[in-house]
Symmetry: C2
Subunit: 672 residues, 2 copies
């Protein structure tokens, strides 16, 4: 029988419950152990295993709070500005003794007079420069008992609670522990987690890849997650897809760690051994969880062997191989387990309510972890869904948070309010500039420059017209656009009038750039003109409808009366210049229209056809906001201009120029 | 001339500006260097020194997104449920080839049919169990080009921006860097910070202290702070107060680190060498900053010696000796400097607006860093000021945040709205139970037990009556009270009627406990009755007015017609049982009234006088809230009860009992 019968998704809550039940049964559903460590700076972040009570008081004696003279308050009675009192500098009641801050008070004293309130006198009762060892002192004010004294226990009294058990140590806590007499501290042992990558197709980070090689970085992400959650990860080298070898490594890992993460092989493919490994070495109780991405999760327990220092069973999680699935499996299953083992409550991420920018669908029956970019446009906090692909790790990198759509919800309309669990600190969301519309590589460069100016540029590529629609829906701060009006030969203005008739906008040129054909090196098919696209052997790759490049192509085709149906691949659409270039580089297509920089990026040849203007469309409301000022300043920043000019096919001379949008249908009023 | 002339406070902003100017002049006002590190889990938290662009695309070939059969879409045309198409399993256009998820697509293929949509057949065209190596496959649906394929560059396209410079690496970032072909990464070098404790009176953590010894833990706190901010701290052993020795150590530290923190000696006392050390080894430009706590700060630059590998000047900060001052100097001066050196914006702490619970005064002219406990009582977020003492590190441990009162503000009334920079995550503030009133050690134990039940108990000791006043002002969730009504002999009820006439409250007994005299071991003065307090040789230490213990004492003195004026020390007040005990243990007083547990804590003898009831007064509104449920459950938790009962003088039998508060002035209505 096929392994695929094992893969049967169960609800997330049930999967978590089975894991909890299994761990409770073997008494591994709480802290795993306690260790004593020295109280030094490495104790930061560790969790106290028990309450700490003060061993000694702090201060542990009555201490002077100032540099000055210790006295008994009785000896100062009657001292006033006009009737000073003189005290001999002798260490006895009735006298005065110099003390530094922190010095113990003499037994006979109960107050300190700060040095600046004292007149030091020599043996002729004349003022002396011997501030600290005069013969007598003269004072002109009486003192109250215990003034300028830090009494024993002012900070902490012996036996009082210093910190509760379960507390995660911060820098000041170390001070309180040390000050109350501690020098070692009982902390919860860090859970040890083995991360075991398997797969014959995997190659280690840094390998020069060949076709079919997959760079193995899930173990890196999982190990880094484990460490950042307070565990101690141990990365294993890649094990090829050999059943016995995997069994051997899993057994070895289980024998000396608290949790085994077996990466990939958790699905039901030809080389997916994980389920069988778990059944062989212990028991499998979950294979498949109704969660996206990441449903082929395996949960089970592995028996420790006789070689192990300690017996019993150890949990194993079969982590799916797609990188987004792997990272989310870490968040969903591993993070709560480590928290539990550290005696900590599960992490309570900050959340924000946000408005969904576009309609989404969600697999019925699955809990759906949707990555979103979050930013504030005008008064509204917006959540823009990012790529749903479980192979797209860059979507997790770009994500400001995760919206969890419960099982049973099949989708949400644009404008719905969703709760986002934030990765990005809430304060940073206010620094996010949402750019939408056409893609240009100068926006990537802009993101890099803005990062150093306390702004985050989150750009979504939906084509020029998509960008104007988004502005109309108040879902972005600006849109990149290069939409040619076939009637006037002018860029963008006609489209702004059409899409944003009631919005005051500024139209600012970013660059002029060359558009042309991207073709493979040497242009083997000699594609030089639009007419060549209709040749039978030429496979074209197009941009999506609404993209400025598409409008330009259609305009040029129309002028030349070339029927799009004659172009093979005209209906194959990609959403960015780079994606078009990638399609050509990989042989998926022979030719696409785009910009020179994209061609250069993928080592393609470029056949220039014409120059076009690429503008930023910015609603006045945002143009005048503080949020966008660093971006607008960048247009006049020499370093940014230089970086853009260094790319082929870019003309930065018009950068920052405002294009005046003439007012339609309004004539100057004649008042005469 | 005295060193004291140096100490002259300047405004905080000016001090920070002088430091910035000095660092700009030597080109140390930006990142200090770049280093290349391997891309492994230790890269977490490091800051990218430059933008990273993708070296290779991910995937770097067209990859199958499923386990299934690679085909060209043309070969599937016409396949429908009733008109299936059969394809030979051959690797060529027109055929089908089995692929696992992640496998490269054959050159001739442009789509994948998932295995579950395929009928595998043997050479007699009969169904076969050979799922992956049948002779032919039968399909009943056509596929579109590129379906179930992850095209080259789906995740990242070579040359695109992966992460901007200045980005602090998180686990998923490591995946994106590795997946786009990175194996090493250029990061900002960690600033090296020397932490140099000085002081003849200092002893290392863990020393058995004698009178006058001060446990040196500032270097521990400072080093832990530095590391947690992304620097690399180096702690030096304690240097005694010897000018030449300190100079030598400072020079040594300056020669191989980026910043020297010279702890203590920054004031103007007899052994405060720091200013002179800085002047000798370089230049001093700030001695004294108008900030509390922590004003005797020193800022300067030290020249590196000829022995140093690199020349130039290194900043030095003379950090004040009081622990709160030291930790805040770290936050005010060191944290922003490390952020600057890491190329990061200064930390932007979460803030919350809160209502001040009591009037505060602030030193005119100083920026005042006031530590506060923060919690939500009813609809209001409250900030309760904690101890202002710069020696009270426990106040920083308890602080949920800092309110910064600008220079010039001399105080604020209770009820004022203040902005608090939070240490505690905002989500945790909602879990804070504010207990106020009389102190009892069972509340310390309660804090420990509640910490494991996702609640934080923040207790302020203001005496029983102070607690009822706070409840009236809606500044706490509950008050501990043991106020005897001399008229009725009943506890608390009369006071509740007086202070909370319009509030529905529950009165729940926590414990019965013994009150008596705390005296030194062996009771050398044989203090056995209230009459003994009036003896001339007995020095008494009292509780503050409003404290239940004080009410009890006054009641008993009144019954016996003993004049308080006859008791020496009657006007000396402490605010907690433990503080009274500490006063006796240290010899400051001979006798005080309090509870047995406090006496035991400080190894005093206890002379029981009577038993009293200690209740919790809880407004109904809070009693019924989810917030307090874990606390109320604790009263019936065997482990908590046991822990309280284990303390001497405690009777837990009435724990959790509700005391009925009879309604006044309402008689049953006679309806007949």
């Amino acid at each position: 029988m096929s392994e695929s019968i094992y893969l049967h998704d169960i609800p997330l809550a049930e999967a978590q419950q089975r894991l909890e039940d299994a761990l409770r049964a073997v008494e591994r559903w709480g802290i795993l152990g306690v260790e004593e460590i020295p109280l030094d700076e490495n104790a930061i972040g560790r969790v106290l295993a028990e309450a700490v009570f003060a061993r000694i008081s702090s201060p542990h004696y009555h201490a002077s709070a100032m540099d000055g003279f210790a006295v008994h308050h009785h000896a100062t009675e009657g001292a006033q500005p006009n009737t000073p009192v003189t005290l001999p500098c002798r260490s006895e009641e009735g006298g005065a003794q110099y003390v530094d801050t922190g010095d113990p008070l003499p037994e006979w004293a109960n107050a300190v007079i700060p040095i600046e309130n004292v007149e030091p006198l020599d043996d002729q009762d004349q003022p002396t420069a011997e501030l600290r060892s005069p013969r007598t002192i003269r004072i002109r004010a009486a003192v109250t008992p215990w003034s300028h004294v830090r009494p024993l226990g002012e900070d902490m009294v012996a036996t009082q609670l210093v910190l509760p058990g379960g507390h995660r140590l911060r820098p000041v806590d170390l001070g309180a522990l040390a000050g109350s007499g501690g020098s070692r501290v009982q902390v919860v042992r860090k859970p040890r987690v083995a991360v075991l990558p398997t797969g014959t197709e995997l190659v280690p980070v840094g390998t020069a890849v060949k076709r079919g090689d997959i760079i193995e970085y899930n173990s890196l992400v999982l190990a880094a997650q484990v460490n950042s959650w307070g565990g101690q990860a141990e990365r294993y080298p890649i094990t090829p897809d050999q059943f016995e070898l995997i069994c051997q490594k899993v057994q070895e890992a289980a024998d000396h760690t608290d949790l085994v993460l077996l990466n990939a092989g958790s699905s039901a493919g030809a080389e997916d051994f994980s389920a069988r490994v778990v059944e062989t070495l212990g028991r499998l109780f979950v294979h498949g969880v109704a969660v996206r991405p990441g449903h082929p999760v395996i949960l089970g327990m592995v028996r420790r062997s006789e070689q192990a220092a300690e017996g019993g069973e150890v949990p194993i999680i079969g982590v799916p191989g797609y990188p987004v699935s792997a990272a989310l499996t870490g968040e969903i299953f591993v993070a709560p387990l480590i928290a539990r083992w550290l005696g900590q409550p599960a992490a309570d991420p900050a959340v924000v309510q946000a408005t969904l920018t576009r309609k989404i669908t969600s697999p019925a029956g699955d809990v759906d972890y949707m990555r979103v970019a979050v930013g504030k446009v005008g008064p509204r906090m917006l959540a823009a869904p990012l790529s749903r692909g479980s192979g797209v790790i860059s979507s997790l990198v770009k994500a400001d948070g995760i919206a969890i759509l419960p099982a049973g919800m099949q989708g949400l309309p644009a404008g719905a309010t969703i709760e986002v669990r934030l990765y990005t600190p809430a304060a940073d969301l206010e620094k996010t500039i949402f750019a939408i519309g056409s893609h240009d590589i100068s926006l990537d460069l802009m993101a890099q420059f803005l990062a150093q100016r306390s702004r985050r540029l989150s750009s979504a590529n939906v084509g020029s017209q998509g960008g104007l629609v988004a502005l109309r829906r108040q879902e972005a701060h600006l849109a990149g656009s290069h939409l040619l009006d076939p009637e006037t030969g002018e860029y963008n203005i006609a489209y702004i009038r059409q899409y944003l008739p009631n919005t005051a906008v500024r139209l600012i040129t970013l660059v002029n750039r060359q558009q042309g054909f991207m073709v493979r090196r040497g242009n083997p098919l000699r594609i030089l003109s639009l007419e060549d696209l209709a040749r039978a052997e030429v496979a074209f790759i197009n941009r999506q409808r609404g993209a400025g490049t598409r409008v330009l192509l259609d305009y040029e085709l129309g002028k030349k009366l070339i029927d799009p149906a004659s172009i093979s691949g005209y209906n194959q659409e990609e959403f960015t210049h780079l994606a078009v270039a990638a399609a050509i580089a990989s042989g998926r297509a022979d030719c696409g229209m785009g910009i020179a920089a994209a061609a250069q990026a993928l080592e393609l040849d470029f056949v220039p056809l014409l120059e076009e203007r690429y503008d930023l469309v910015i609603p006045l409301e945002h143009y005048e906001s503080g949020l966008l000022q660093p971006l607008l300043e960048l247009l006049f920043d020499g370093k940014y201009q230089q970086a853009v000019a260094a790319m082929p096919g870019y003309d930065i001379r018009p950068m920052g120029t405002e294009v005046i949008i003439p007012v339609l249908g309004e004539l100057p009023t004649d008042q005469s």
